[in-house]
């Protein structure tokens, strides 16, 4: 397969010992904190903290490298786009203009713009190690139980579990169908014209849809027959009890969010302005 998917990697580390629910809560708290603040110092601290956590998890960088490179390329493109569309966004935000050098036409590079774009990049980057960590250090089995614990109804949580369970099956279906159709001469490659490719793709979509609808039917039956949805609650085989580490982790994450709030009040807004 040309594209790889990110999945659980087994390791023996304090991060892996945390329950899935804890990791989910922490990820959410950190996400909120880093979404909320534009304070360079805090973002930098979050980034450093996330990288340290990543190290603690004993996950090898090479296991997630393909995703990281992908994100870096995306961030680069995004930065270029921002500059093209709004070269003086930073000037607007920080209320100052310090020109560095002129490019072409209306584009002049300013210190404020650079600082603004540095902040955006930092903001995106700061959460990446945490998000990756969540993906590779949480066993999928624990995921539904975790969602249920943080208040999602167990039925909703189970829908996620079903999705995780059947992704490989659907993927296999997709490839089998694509194989069958291509072997009939229905071309999906770049050699075909766009309009034709759209038409050709229905030859894959429809069989995939019908086999998925059949699948829904079978699984529903199987779940009915094994008493799913009978009670208001359900227990989870793979749920784990909270331990000391879990409370500490949630405490730390909450602290970051509180700091983000405090900094917002102190800075009188989301941005930290070193130019003042």
């Amino acid at each position: 397969m040309s594209q790889t998917m990110l999945g659980y990697i087994k390791q023996d580390s304090p991060i892996h010992y945390l329950t899935g629910a804890t990791k989910l809560i922490c990820l959410l708290l950190f996400s909120f904190a880093s979404m909320l603040t534009y304070d360079t110092r805090l973002l930098a601290i979050i980034l450093i903290f996330s990288i340290v956590m990543f190290k603690v998890s004993k996950i090898q960088f090479k296991d997630v490298a393909f995703v990281v490179y992908f994100i870096l390329v995306f961030l680069l493109l995004n930065n270029i786009a921002i500059f093209l569309f709004s070269p003086y966004e930073g000037v607007k935000i920080y209320g100052m203009r310090t020109d560095l050098f002129k490019l072409v036409g209306p584009y002049t590079v300013t210190v404020e713009q650079l600082f603004y774009q540095f902040n955006i990049t930092l903001k995106y980057l700061s959460i990446i190690p945490m998000a990756l960590l969540f993906m590779v250090a949480t066993h999928p089995s624990e995921f539904a139980a975790s969602l249920n614990r943080i208040g999602v109804s167990y039925k909703g949580a189970y829908a996620v579990a079903i999705a995780l369970r059947y992704i490989p099956d659907v993927q296999r279906d997709y490839h089998d169908i694509a194989f069958a159709q291509q072997a009939r001469g229905i071309d999906m490659s770049k050699k075909e014209k766009l309009s034709k490719r759209i038409k050709n793709i229905t030859a894959i979509l429809l069989p995939l849809i019908f086999s998925s609808l059949d699948r829904i039917e079978t699984i529903s039956c199987a779940m009915e027959l094994r008493a799913f949805g009978n009670n208001k609650k359900r227990t989870w085989y793979s749920a784990r009890p909270f331990k000391k580490g879990d409370y500490i982790a949630i405490g730390v994450a909450t602290a970051f969010l509180v700091v983000a709030f405090l900094m917002m009040i102190k800075n009188g807004g989301r941005f930290y302005n070193p130019f003042l």
Partner: protein, 185 residues
């Protein structure tokens, strides 16, 4: 589909499988258009079909879960603004569920128009309003850029769902026509 409960087992399973299919289509069946960063997202045509078959709750949930899983497995992080937009698309298209009776084999001109009105409104709200607004709130990126991104995504999705989604619903309805009256041969 005459389900009594909002979250019947079938709806739950439809959400799960729907999300899995959404992810697989998003990752393998997106057709590049030639314009950078814009793809024909066949996943949204599928989302339209599921929303119309299983209703707004399923539509929103498939959009939300499917898009989140796609983001995290591909990029390692969820892009919340766009995920919520996907959920909104599913939700609004799902509102057409009560008006259309595709599973009984009815999908004529009138239904096609109804469906397309819903999907256009859904895409306009999601990509024209929800996604850029959330991007501003969360990432404070420049307005012009976000609205351009939003409208490109919105327009390409309107076309995708309008063409492919309508075709899928039509084909699906066709397979349902004769059922119920068929006797054993």
């Amino acid at each position: 589909m005459n389900e009594k409960k909002i979250l019947s087992i079938k709806t739950i399973v439809a959400i799960g499988i729907g999300a899995a299919v959404f992810l697989v289509l998003g990752r393998f069946a997106a057709i590049p258009t030639g314009v950078p960063n814009t793809e024909i997202q066949t996943a949204y045509a599928f989302l339209a079909l599921m929303a119309v078959l299983y209703g707004p709750v399923a539509g929103a949930a498939i959009g939300f879960i499917g898009h989140t899983l796609k983001d995290v497995t591909a990029y390692g992080m969820p892009w919340f603004s766009w995920i919520i937009a996907s959920a909104v698309v599913g939700l609004i298209m799902g509102l057409a569920w009560k008006k259309l009776h595709v599973s009984e084999g009815v999908f004529g001109k009138k239904e096609m128009i109804t469906f397309n009105i819903y999907q256009i409104i859904a895409n306009l709200i999601a990509w024209g309003l929800v996604a850029p607004t959330l991007d501003i709130v969360i990432y404070a990126e420049p307005l012009d850029k976000l609205y351009l991104q939003g409208s490109v995504a919105g327009i390409s999705n309107i076309i995708t769902v309008g063409v492919l989604g309508t075709a899928l619903l039509y084909a699906y309805a066709k397979t349902r026509t004769k059922k119920g009256s068929l006797d054993k041969e």
